[in-house]
Symmetry: none
């Protein structure tokens, strides 16, 4: 079975916007074993959309349309589908009632043109929309399935995953999918691939996908089998040697980001954390606190963006800064110890460095970052030599700091 | 004149990858006054690609194909174009010589299959590729222009901008482009549109594009005229009433983000800033310090994620927290004052609130955030009622805090 995705909306043909709905839809379809063979992006142009859909009906089993279901004249998806499939539209007052109730709940009055959203194509099944005014529609014709979905991702995603996927699954041969989702820190993608390619390239099932971000690599294994046992057996066969090769660089087996893995470790060990940040300027703490409930283990911290602040807020001896500069192992350790003492946390992480584009010295050019860690046994620090722009250097420093503490606790 | 973009490559039909080449191409075409009316993404499938190109030839003046020009059997763009346009291919030994020279320069030996890249379609003009092995091709037929470009962005971009755009410009009437790029904080998109639509909808030139993110809206005006004077006159004619309507909600006339605008104000006023963050957990400082050189005005701050830390690090009276809770106007003011006193900054911003998903009270549910500001004249605080998930609430709170200080200084 193959699928085709058509995204509708003139804003998707500007230099500023891109269709990302199709990534979510593709992932959901791939899990079912359905491949996407083509994607199209068309503007609010009824004639063109009708032609594109007519061509899709000749070649694709499942056709997913996103967008163009709004209340204005620009929103032409319903009309184009009607024209391409030869289906009329009927006004459904019960849909208007739902839209009207939605407006009332938020204290607004429904505009007259919202009634357009209650037009439903002949033979279509209505897909209710809990998050917005435009209901989706599901149409089966000539052995094809055509799905009309709203464009806003927060409306489209639950509708597709919650309503369309279960209905599509009934049309597919029974298939069990099992996945593993590894995450690895502190390795360049090329090194990782060289290490594990001899394992995974021997298999097409499970399939392996590797995705790399700065200092963070995701490895997706996906097994498609007739039984759960067979899928799990295959995943173990490929996963076990990969896990052995990666060792403690592997920080997640379920796709959790590093800050979540670290948070779980801190909670399990019943220890607390504080931070002292210079060049990362809050990025380290921001990542730690993206995790709901992080207040269980994260106490707080200090942003000391100047030398004077390092001394005033963290008690770093000005002579130490004078002697070693603020970007040094000694100051990184003193910052971490200052944060630990002042917050009473069990662990503290510090970051000081040159994120660029200005700053740096001959000995410590832009990209030089020291990470400090304080704990009951004292303090340590490590020197990093990072490359890239300001944002990348800050992100790599943050990732390295989190991963260092993870290994310490692990 | 209209254009259609076709991206080729099976990897662009996976959940991990997206065609972004088309954004660059669209921007370049828009500057010429050419609109993109459709985009397609197809896999390495000769039959499908031939059909898609044949349909494009019936409706689009300029057709840009990216990808599929490599040396392997998967790379089927040349064959599909030949089939769709009825053109044969000829082997050009001089292209092979160039590819071979390229390999030699990097100390490698050209593989035999690279010779496939020296196949050129009848009537095609070769577009040399300085960055890779695949030359581009420019074909004119039946009043259409078909461009075959390599897929890697670092090869495609210079070829399109440097070779195709100058040739396309000759086919277009002479044109001068001038733009304005406004940014606005603190308004919902619908309110902004209602306010300024009566102005901009009267004009198709300049064209207006509105892009919205949480609490941040961009307004792009683009005038296309025969002379620079005319373009500037039109921009002023549309821009002046828009600026007047937006008033001090307009924070940028050149596209600078809010933290850059605020940074310039702080530097001009020669004043310094510190922060005290609770629920935003470092996000406010992180944004302030994304600006290179922010150490000129940003001293540092405090992350006080627990009540105890608010007292220990910022000197907030525990009785104040007990009486009003940590999420209150009083505590927000005390946090800002504590940060200002401890850092010696001229201004301090604080944030305390319930970012969710847990927490909140009946009176102050999730989404309630207080922003505090301290300055020479004392302290103030404001209560926000925000909606959305944890990330959105934190981002909106951060944006509101930065914008409040901007208005204070402005």
């Amino acid at each position: 079975m193959n699928a085709e995705i058509i995204a509708i909306g003139s804003e998707l043909l500007t230099p500023q916007r891109i269709d990302t709905n199709s990534l979510f839809i593709t992932d959901q379809l791939n899990v079912l074993g359905v491949e996407v063979t083509m994607k199209s992006i068309v503007g609010d142009d009824r004639t063109l959309m009708t032609a594109v859909l007519a061509a899709a009906m000749l070649r694709s089993d499942f056709i997913i349309l996103t967008g163009g279901l709004g209340p204005t004249e620009d929103d032409v998806t319903r009309d184009a589908v009607g024209a391409a499939l030869g289906l009329g539209q009927a006004y459904h007052p019960e849909v208007t009632a739902q839209i009207e109730a939605r407006f009332q709940r938020s204290g607004r009055v429904m505009a007259e043109n919202n009634k357009r959203q209650a037009l439903v194509l002949e033979t279509a099944e209505i897909l209710p929309n809990d998050r917005g005014t435009a209901p989706g529609q599901w149409i089966e014709k000539n052995g094809r399935v055509v799905m009309l979905l709203p464009g806003p991702p927060n409306e489209m995603k639950p509708m597709f995953a919650g309503q369309c996927i279960p209905k599509l699954r009934l049309k597919m041969p029974p298939l069990v999918i099992r996945t593993r989702f590894y995450r690895v820190a502190g390795m360049p993608e090329s090194d990782l691939d060289q290490l594990i390619a001899p394992v995974y390239t021997k298999y097409t099932n499970p399939s392996t996908t590797i995705l790399a971000a700065p200092s963070d690599i995701q490895i997706h294994l996906r097994a498609r089998c007739e039984t759960e046992q067979e899928a799990e057996r295959l995943l173990a066969e490929v996963g076990a040697p990969i896990e052995a090769l990666l060792g403690d660089r592997l920080y997640s087996r379920n796709g959790d980001p590093l800050e979540t893995t670290l948070g779980k470790l801190l909670r399990t060990r019943q220890v607390t954390l504080s931070v002292a940040e210079s060049c990362t300027g809050g990025m380290l703490a921001e990542r730690i606190t993206t995790v709901p409930g992080s207040s269980d283990y994260f106490l707080g911290g200090f942003l000391t963006y100047t030398n004077a602040m390092k001394s005033a807020l963290l008690g770093v001896d000005p002579k130490l800064i004078e002697q070693h500069t603020a970007v040094s192992k000694e100051v990184a350790m003193a910052m971490a110890q200052g944060a630990m003492q002042r917050t009473g946390s069990n662990f503290a992480l510090s970051v000081t460095g040159y994120a660029g584009p200005g700053g740096g010295t001959e000995e410590n050019p832009v990209g030089t970052v020291f990470i400090g860690m304080a704990h009951a046994a004292g303090a340590e620090a490590t020197r990093l030599k990072l490359f890239g722009d300001r944002q990348r250097i800050r992100a790599m420093a943050t990732q390295t700091a989190l991963d260092w503490l993870r290994k310490k606790l692990g």
